[in-house]
Symmetry: C2
Subunit: 234 residues, 2 copies
Amino acid sequence: MEVKLPTFDSVFSIDCVIFGFEAGELKILLIERNEEPFKDWLALPGYIVEQDESIDNAAERILYELTGLRDLHMQQFHTFGEVNRHPQGRVITVAYYALIRINGQKEVKPVTQYAKSAFWHPVNDLPKLAFDHSEIFTTGFNKIKRRLNYQPIAFELLPEKFTLTQLQSLYEAVMNKKLDKRNFRKKMLSYGFLKELDEKQKGVSYRAAKLYKFDRRKYTKIFQNDLIADKAGV
Amino acid sequence: MEVKLPTFDSVFSIDCVIFGFEAGELKILLIERNEEPFKDWLALPGYIVEQDESIDNAAERILYELTGLRDLHMQQFHTFGEVNRHPQGRVITVAYYALIRINGQKEVKPVTQYAKSAFWHPVNDLPKLAFDHSEIFTTGFNKIKRRLNYQPIAFELLPEKFTLTQLQSLYEAVMNKKLDKRNFRKKMLSYGFLKELDEKQKGVSYRAAKLYKFDRRKYTKIFQNDLIADKAGV
DNA sequence: ATATAGTGTGTCAGATTTACACCATTAAAT
DNA sequence: ATTTAATGGTGTAAATCTGACACACTATAT
């Protein structure tokens, strides 16, 4: 069964690669599609941009409708414009990523009928995705891998208060390699934008680690000279 | 006089920021528009994407039509999708940059009527541009500033054979700061991807400098481990 | 009390980065 | 022939950063 697209000459869409970090694993949000084409396939959350909304606003709206998530800091990273990337017509898609704290989020679930479900899936074991979404994911993943080294994006994935070990294991998960504990701590602390709290980790059956917090004010003060304002997050 | 846009529901366009280096200055290509809106204004080369061409192909075609330049390595860098960025309707534009050798290029000139003329203009002294093109330029400029430090893009701006002083002055022009000559040379040569030629500079009234050539084969060999394949040029 | 599991810490060697100044070469001017 | 003007080309030492590496401490569970 084929459902016709609206009769636009050109259609824009947004696709979102939403990263989260849980149980030591990096994950992304997928949805199960409820519409042709690719009905029942897994896909990145994405949909068509309306005439009267900016693409940044569209990205927020669409993500909300498909997953129930709001107020993420979405960042555009690439636009995919092959002629035949959509089987039913010409659809150019602008891809966005965002990083969020999974813990403490209410469960993700679609608020429209376009998706049957939404869920977190580890990036290391992704199934085949609808359209060219596997390629979109890979491009986005490479982007954040690089960005991790010069932008404070790690902190968006962690709870507000975190231990240095958690921070390290996030870096290890994204970069997919082991880091030296002492060197990692020395370096992170040397930047001066981590604030040591008077609190300790709770509920562990071993020596509790100190908790830290990312101090964005200090970060921008320290790095303001290096920062080149740029739509694409530098 | 207002010319109506074609009755697309949505229109895609491409805008190009084409960098060149001449007389120690970084320049970009501008056109003088020959159509409403913004008739007679200066603008980035840009036009509408056809239904049956990928955006990458469209970028090449459009640049050719407006400037006569062909076969540049165009790189997408950002998509601009504010609702009112175009006064006559909804136009989302994908911005590309490219770097080229000005010297030795035949003169740039439009092959369609959409532009009256095309010419190089120093980036340090840009006039107000049509649409949001000033913003597009700035975003693109910041992109290449960063990229200069981890991608071999400088060599695309220089003639095939160049002196180390030329290379340095290009870096200085892009980064807008002075570099130390000895350190710059030591570092560049240490990478091992510059090939020293048996030739010297000609036609100067002082000691002629050695000429070098960028060896792309060596470059990729040396850096293949660091490279993360990525649509956006890493 | 002791076993367990993860926390938290310092040093040294090697590599990289930065700062810094003078003689060499060429063509043009005298 | 000599001088001048302009740029080419080179080395070293100090400071900083990076990477490798191992063990005692602490909180809890039993």
